[in-house]
Symmetry: C2
Amino acid sequence: MATPQDRQLVEQWRSIQSTYFRTAGAIDRALESRFSIGLTEFEILDLVAESADAACRMKQLGERTPMTQSAMSKVVDRLEKAGLISRHSCEDDRRSLFLELTDAGRALHGEAAVEHRALLKENLA
Amino acid sequence: MATPQDRQLVEQWRSIQSTYFRTAGAIDRALESRFSIGLTEFEILDLVAESADAACRMKQLGERTPMTQSAMSKVVDRLEKAGLISRHSCEDDRRSLFLELTDAGRALHGEAAVEHRALLKENLA
DNA sequence: TCAACTTATATGACACGTCATTGAATGACA
DNA sequence: TGTCATTCAATGACGTGTCATATAAGTTGA
């Protein structure tokens, strides 16, 4: 029933879980305490910062993250309320929105990214 | 600012996240639909099934999972309500509890474990 | 051009996890 | 033994994620 291969799979899985939780937790706590945003919020900022080219992005961003569409929408709500991001409706397709960092958002992202990368390095070594 | 090493770290991180969410999601949906328990519940069942030797385990189980003590307590609540596990108070230290699978719990764990291992194999290849 | 269908985002109800706190039992030591 | 600190587990308030659905805009084809 519990073959050696099974055990090895389970070990591998626990190791992934452990890395994931340790890393995500460390980043989340650091960003929360220094910048008052969570990991999820940062990840959206990071994606928006990356895709600097114009596009109707709300949708496309969704394809680059494991987040649900509905989760995305709520994260963007929070970021907008925090004044870090703005939604602009798309001329070609008024159902779509594209996102843009505000100046504050860009500044915060810059600093937070340093922290983020540092913690990744520390935890994924 | 964005060194190649940074990009590589971020890529590695996204890959871990993706594997984690894909795998956890697949297992969770499968267990939910076939056995009406979630991944979290299964993981506790699995830990209890593993540590068949007697001990005041609630605490010790906590050390083997990234879950919070409070989360553990609530998961065990659900498992107990579902009749899959039972809490027994510990003679030596009446603050502690140890856990035991019920017959139903053992049976369900046996079947669910097969599914669990299969999905790990599929997703962690 | 008007239905019927599809697509993009928002929203509400709900489930689950975390943090902070509580209650109870234990330990340490004057 | 009496006090104070510590440890184990449970609980309530709260935040955030998911699913199902709503709303609005676009598409298709007779």
